[in-house]
Symmetry: C2
Subunit: 329 residues, 2 copies
Amino acid sequence: MTTISDVAKAAHVSKATVSYVLAESPKISNETASRVKKAMHDLGYSVNHAARVLSTSKTMTIGIVIPMMRENVASISQGAYLTSLSVLAREKGYDTMLISEVEGSRAFREAIDAKKIDGAIIMEVRRHKDERIDLAKKYKLPTVLLGVPADAQGLDVVDSDFTQAARDLIRHFVRLGRKRLLLVLWSKEHYVKEINFAVRFREAALVEAKKSGMKVHVEYSTSSQENPAAELKRAIKNYPEFDSLLIHNDSVVVVAQQVFLELGLAHSSDISVAAIIPDQMNSLVRVPFPTVDVNLDVVAQNVIEVLVDRISNVDAPQQVRLLQHQLHE
Amino acid sequence: MTTISDVAKAAHVSKATVSYVLAESPKISNETASRVKKAMHDLGYSVNHAARVLSTSKTMTIGIVIPMMRENVASISQGAYLTSLSVLAREKGYDTMLISEVEGSRAFREAIDAKKIDGAIIMEVRRHKDERIDLAKKYKLPTVLLGVPADAQGLDVVDSDFTQAARDLIRHFVRLGRKRLLLVLWSKEHYVKEINFAVRFREAALVEAKKSGMKVHVEYSTSSQENPAAELKRAIKNYPEFDSLLIHNDSVVVVAQQVFLELGLAHSSDISVAAIIPDQMNSLVRVPFPTVDVNLDVVAQNVIEVLVDRISNVDAPQQVRLLQHQLHE
DNA sequence: GTGAAAGCGCTAACAC
DNA sequence: GTGTTAGCGCTTTCAC
């Protein structure tokens, strides 16, 4: 293993000079700089991360706090999110550390205490009583919430604008003259647990539909979702007079086409269907009706941007970014 | 911020003693140990990770090298894998760092050079010319390959046994007396790029079918997979005399039922269908025919186990674990 | 059993 | 411009 001292010796300079070269300091003459660089290259030198961290108190790593996701259908997009976040963070010079929620926020707290991270991204924020938020706040850790809690406690927030999406979708129906909306959602548990995007979408959809004078019938999936097709059929049976169907449930979206075919509703032009889904789902299973596609990459980009800003300026005012996604017909 | 010195002072002992207490050394008397512990608690002390790493040269973190996954349908399971790996690693005392493949293996090399990780998990290993493998080998980094390359170079390997799975599925058809197999696969690109699980499954299926005297017709999806239903229909049109359909393509699995209904093949008892899918997909969209469900959690468990073993014993013989998944009817 | 002290590899004043 | 040096917080050998 070669250290900064080895390089210094080989280049006939002091450790300090090598350090300055690493930092691209303009104080170093071109001549010595290149001599030092040659030595670094010849010796295959690399900065030791731990030593640098200890010395600077900057870890240059971001913690990504991921939720436990048993039975949580939304997690399809988790992998894509993590990849994007990791790539984008690296572009700004940051590593990413995965922090899973086991034993409450234990792992998160330890990462903060041990000074393993400079900041954090909290994924799938809960509406109420999310202790990860309390922790971040208490420790004054630069943090971006991915999801909108009831009380962000002044922490930065980035997420898709589900309220806007719901509004756009309802207005789309109104434009088509629809009056009787069948709203098919996630399981009741999603709303009891107040899963962020679920709750926000439902509220906005209900409000907008009411405002537009639409009659609304709401159906929830079972939590196991053993048979989404059967569930959609049941929903339709429970409200057969619907003229518009809005789906916020990825599994149901997948089978919607099939169910319509089976029920002979497929080409009935007096029923409209629409949904909101993560965009990569639309490439997995091309959905044959209008959708709002949530663009994960754009969200990730904003998350990293806000977090890096926050790390470099702890006292800047809170940022809240709700990202708009287009209705895609 | 409180350091080990503060604790030492408060407990009227030396830094060394505090350190021994942290290490739970039996040399320390119960009396002093508890005095020190009280001081640690009172002061809210936590070990500084960077300092410990610098001192011990053990980072206690594992790098997870994830592939770029544009257009890669398999990535549905990525999130689940990452979560499991992270949870299981932590149970063994390790943190997990995400390393994305940008600019080749640049990020991976830097993580190794900077001594950021004690070991690595390489996800979605390629059959040939995966430079991440060369890197790990060259640097003698404890590494587990998730996927089976043509040449593992002595590195440990953990993966599902796709060969076994293919065999089980074919034998299932043979048992039912099927003779004419329609094999619907991923896109040609998957096989040209030699995506690991795709290639291994295909080879084994072809070999076993041939051995069993089955006639086989192979169909590939388009790379965009704009319309999986249409693709399946085309496949069937290209080989209408099939009596068995084996699917290795998650999108096609999703729409299979629908297509069969549309074509009026649904209840035809002289056609059998089977597939291989990640297990959480079977909870997302309950698949109505026999499947081999790849259990990610079991795979993750084995990966961590092997890697931790490897880190603690660099010279142990290579381990190769191919995990069997049951055919689930 | 406990303490003193040398290092781990790097950064950043501060001198010159 | 370059060198000297004092840390950063912890572990661990060696005395006692």
